[in-house]
Amino acid sequence: MTRGRLRPWIPALVGLVLALGSIIVASAIGPSSVGPADVWAVVLNKLGLASHRDVSPIMQAIVWDLRMPRTVLAALVGAGLAVAGAVMQAVTRNPLADPYLLGLSSGAALGAVVVLVLGVAAGSLGVAGGAFIGALVAFGFVIAIAVSGRRLDPAVTVLAGVAVGTICAALTSLIVVVAANPFKTREVDYWLLGSLAGTTWGNDLVAAPVVVACVGVCIGCARSLNAMAFGDSDARALGVDTTRLRWILLVTCALMTGVLVSLSGAIGFVGLLLPHAARMIVGRDNRRLLPVSALAGAIFLVWADTVARTALQPREIPVGVVTALVGAPAFALLIRQRRRAP
């Protein structure tokens, strides 16, 4: 369970190469045939690192304007959700915790539906803005319920998340039923299941700084997070301000998840599955686990999204359906192989 001890950077390095390679190769896959080498040439062209005259403008447009923004966003969303999942599992000491635990996805869905179906602030906020605000409002309610004094009890936080999530889901269904517009309902369904269709570089420019900063904060807290293994009191005896650490990590993960959900919808299973898989590769040390979770999440979602957009061409499968279809059996296998409960 603790391979990778001698050269701890090897799994991270391999992961980084695989993640970047996945973005390139996945961007080559699609209805019109483009080779990975062409993708590479387009990337070099666009970054001004080299100029390959033999890449046609159409190919350039397909790769750079259509496919790359989407694969890059898949990588960012996958990385962010996986790290948020690993952190939530550690902070709540609950192996079933995932990034949506704090009612974030249900809140985001409610926010999106309010904008999409009821048309509230549709012009100013847009669906993504509504989702982001919905996620943060739900998170605010969860914290308000769970907080006592300055402290956040992990178990109470989980229960509050379930309560708020249920209310949001019920309200979402109510709005959809009352509004009863089949086209909007379909759009809502897609959104609830998660989809990266129609991604632009503008979405990546929103996601990238948020994911990099939030994942950085989480990795910076990794040592303190390790110290919580024997419980809060013991962590405090080791000099960790556990109340502060919980606040920092919960708010960081909520912000990151809120942004990601607003861009991609609620893609399930990434935040639950990938941290467990990463643990099998590098063990429990969060200093190694978090970077490797991020890279594993990125790789996983890039390929899940590639399946989602190509498997039933020309139709798209919501990527959340793919992550669940692949993720759930993989998760079941993973649990069977473990000696102890996670």
Binding site: T2, G220, N226, F230, D234, G239, V240, R284
Partner: protein, 265 residues
């Protein structure tokens, strides 16, 4: 080095500590004894600043712990809890290296110093060669020793131990307290075994119902009268033929002189 003075603490409406004090200087081992529920663990937790006392003060090296950051406290004071356990799959090495937490910043990897402290701590606690063993496969005694090793790599000046000899066989009990003495830290250990307390401690603090009822060197404190008062047990106190320390033997009540139990408390 560490002085907890006049500590009062109540929980759930019950007064647990009622003006209790304990202090310890460098190189001294203070034994905290008293019946179950007398407040030993609570006093240690208050002294470690893990529990905020309702009143009273805790001074660490002349500084009030309330004004200190957790990290600063943890660099000077190590606390070994009783029966600490985890669900996380950890190796002995991981557990021991947690002791370096207060000494390292975010993003800072384990240093050569950390690893050499690890090796020394494992050797002193007899765990050399076991560093890759899973925590969950350790016996109670081995866990206790791993936790002491963790406290050692924390490089504290003050060491607080809650029932450190729990789960240990007699050889390991003696070995552990020998080790603790040889560290020459300012140590306070809550102990159940009065003979161990008598044999190893420089000073004994006796707690009963949250109050300190006696403080002093073992021969002065550990008298048959005090044991009867505090534990309500009849004992004969003798002198160890080799060490000269007090030895205590208890008289089972069934063979006793038929003490009155009426009105006993």
């Amino acid at each position: 080095m560490l002085a907890a003075t006049n500590i009062t603490w109540s929980a759930g409406g019950a007064l647990i500590l009622d003006g209790a004090s304990v202090q310890v200087d460098a190189g001294r081992l203070v034994g905290l004894i008293g019946p179950n529920g007398s407040g030993k663990t609570s006093l240690l937790r208050c002294a470690a600043a893990l529990t905020a006392a309702d009143s009273g003060e805790v001074m660490l090296d002349g500084a009030d712990v309330r004004a200190m950051r957790r990290r600063a406290i943890a660099r000077r004071l190590a606390f070994v809890e009783q029966d600490a356990d985890t669900d996380v799959e950890l190796e002995v090495r991981d557990v021991v290296l947690l002791g370096r937490t207060p000494h390292r910043r975010a993003f800072e990897p384990d240093t050569a110093e950390d690893l050499s402290l690890l090796a020394v701590a494992l050797e002193r606690t007899g765990l050399t060669g076991r560093e890759h063993q899973s925590w969950h496969t350790l016996s109670g005694g081995e866990r206790q020793r791993a936790r002491i090793a963790r406290a050692l790599v924390q490089q504290p000046e003050v060491l607080l131990l809650d029932e450190p000899t729990n789960h240990l066989d007699v050889a390991h009990q003696l070995e552990l307290l020998d080790l603790v003495r040889s560290l020459e830290l300012a140590t306070v250990a809550a102990l159940h075994d009065l003979n161990l307390a008598a044999a190893f401690c420089d000073e004994i603090v006796v707690l009963a119902k949250g109050r300190v009822v006696a403080t002093g060197p073992p021969p002065e404190v550990l008298t048959a009268e005090l044991i009867d008062d505090v534990y309500d047990v009849e004992a004969i106190v003798g002198e160890h033929p080799v060490t000269g320390r007090p030895t205590i033997v208890f008289t089972p009540r069934t063979r006793g002189r038929g003490r009155q139990t009426a009105g006993g408390d």
